[in-house]
Symmetry: C2
DNA sequence: TTTTCATATGAAAAGCTGTTCATATATTTA
DNA sequence: TAAATATATGAACAGCTTTTCATATGAAAA
């Protein structure tokens, strides 16, 4: 049994990381870190087009990174703090320690 | 001061996640989780072409996810356990809790 | 010192992802 | 119920990423 190994396949990781490997989606997540917003409010905050925002929110929701709450004709989105916050903190620590080339400004 | 917020920009996250959002690179990381291997050994283990492996290792190294150790004409690569292991464990936990749609088998 | 082995790299082709546009659906208001 | 508002979705195009191929570089062995 190769057991301390994860039980979740490469494809799943690829989808998870792929979901976060996008500047637009990271902007949406960041916008939602303050508080829940509906789609129109997200568009106002970020300056992105409505259909673009909807497409990306769908993907974020599908991967459990945001949650949707229906309220009349509005759809309020909330960031999954439990995942997103520690994840970004963890990565900050990695970057500070290892990614000198990136932090140095190039690329 | 929006201070508990990360100091590292969206672009850096995009590059970090983008590096891991690829099945080939995840396969390389997985191959290296057992032990350090040189490029030829990685090719044997994974079945990938040498130039493909070199391209991807370069990216992984650049982002601090693997380390390279020169030994004569060989280049031994080691996974960055400190980052990769807890990261994958963390994501497993996220998946188990939120990504039912993915785990259910579709996509 | 020529050949062989190990790895790296640049450029082109193939494949994938993001954005836009047009439009659909669903809810509320007039 | 017609019009307005809020959100979602499919398809096409543009742009980016991955893979392949040809070849370069560098170290070791013959």
């Amino acid at each position: 049994m190769a057991s301390s190994r994860t039980t979740i396949g490469k494809k799943s990781y690829q989808l998870f990381f792929g979901t976060l490997a996008n500047e637009t989606r990271l902007t949406l997540i960041n916008a939602l870190r303050e508080k829940s917003l509906n789609v129109t409010q997200i568009c106002e905050t970020t300056g992105f087009e409505q259909s673009l925002v909807s497409h990306h929110l769908k993907m974020l929701e599908y991967h459990g990174m945001v949650f949707k709450k229906e309220q009349g004709k509005f759809r309020y989105y909330t960031v999954n703090e439990k995942t997103i916050k520690p994840l970004l903190e963890f990565i900050d620590a990695h970057m500070k320690e290892y990614c000198c080339k990136i932090l140095a400004g190039k690329r």
